[in-house]
Symmetry: C2
Subunit: 167 residues, 2 copies
DNA sequence: GGCAAAATGTAGCCTTGGCTTCATCATGGG
DNA sequence: CCCATGATGAAGCCAAGGCTACATTTTGCC
């Protein structure tokens, strides 16, 4: 795995680093404020990633309730492409977070909060898809990319999308 | 947590569901193909989420190497807003995946593959930011949203962005 | 040259979100 | 009416990605 050409790696850095970027007029490394700002951005992305799952479930459950009249764990699992056990654990989490409720062997239902979140998520999803379509992305690709993008679009950006689409 | 107005929830659904959507001309529930397609989209988003972390590390390490001449775990951790231990574990994973190499107490370096990935990730990041800016999103918001969005933009969509930006 | 502080690395813990496996419940066909 | 079958739920495993606490190494300062 490493008997190959390793290029100049360790010895060189030993001598060069500090004198190059750090010791001139500029402060060593980066200003703390800049690093902090970047850290905040990453923290933000991480938390969006964390709620993305919940959003997907809520969105799907809402859809199932509207279209099919009921949302059963097996269907949820099938549509998300996960095992039913995984879906059930996620549903338990939704309940813990006050987004859904259910009783054993009955379907899953959304609370007020869950419905509100579903509406918001769906609106966002549609807007992202519409924007991508408007930029010339083919339908299916737009749908697929939106699935990931939608969770990271801030309110500000959402407004910009609306403006661009002329709404 | 629930002593409030729970509205009609469980009893009603018992009677309505099957007769409504399933038993008329249409096939019960959804066509399997549609569900499979949706499942694929979600699987796709999940896998993008999984690689997002690695991409962030690679991108940052590349940046540190270019700007500072070296990438040290502590700096990486600071810029990402995580503890140094977390960063070190992630670096170990990068090494496992052949994207980086390092020896104890020396900095971290990217392999060929790592550098290639970094270039790709950075290009994508810039393009997403530029697009958002072009749509009227303020600089800092664009930068922040891009951090999450960039990992979910397919090649097709990327091309559409380029086209739109007139490149 | 030696020691203290800072950087690095290690170990162990927690939660999430996957999975499989097994037990239990509900329902419909014979 | 009863049982087979399929849906549901529970338990336990695993990897990832956080953390804190502790150990070790480098480094720089005196």
């Amino acid at each position: 795995m490493e008997g190959d050409a390793m290029m100049p790696d360790a010895e060189a850095e030993d001598a060069a680093p500090a004198g190059d970027a750090a010791s001139e007029g500029a402060p060593a490394g980066l200003p703390d404020a800049v690093a902090a700002q970047e850290a905040a951005r990453h923290a933000n992305a991480r938390s969006a990633r964390a709620s993305a799952l919940l959003h997907d479930y809520v969105e799907l459950i809402d859809d199932l309730l509207n279209v099919e009249g009921e949302a059963r764990p097996t269907d949820i699992a099938r549509r998300l492409g996960v095992s039913h056990a995984t879906a059930i654990k996620a549903i338990a989490r939704l309940k813990r977070e006050g987004l859904a409720h259910s009783r054993p062997y009955r379907g899953v239902f959304l609370t007020e909060a869950g419905r509100a979140l579903a509406a918001e998520v769906r609106a966002r999803h549609r807007l992202v898809v519409d924007l991508l379509r408007a930029l010339g992305v083919p339908e299916d690709v737009a749908e697929s990319d939106a699935e990931g993008i939608e969770h990271h679009v801030s309110g500000e950006t959402l407004k910009a999308f609306e403006r661009f689409l002329g709404r």
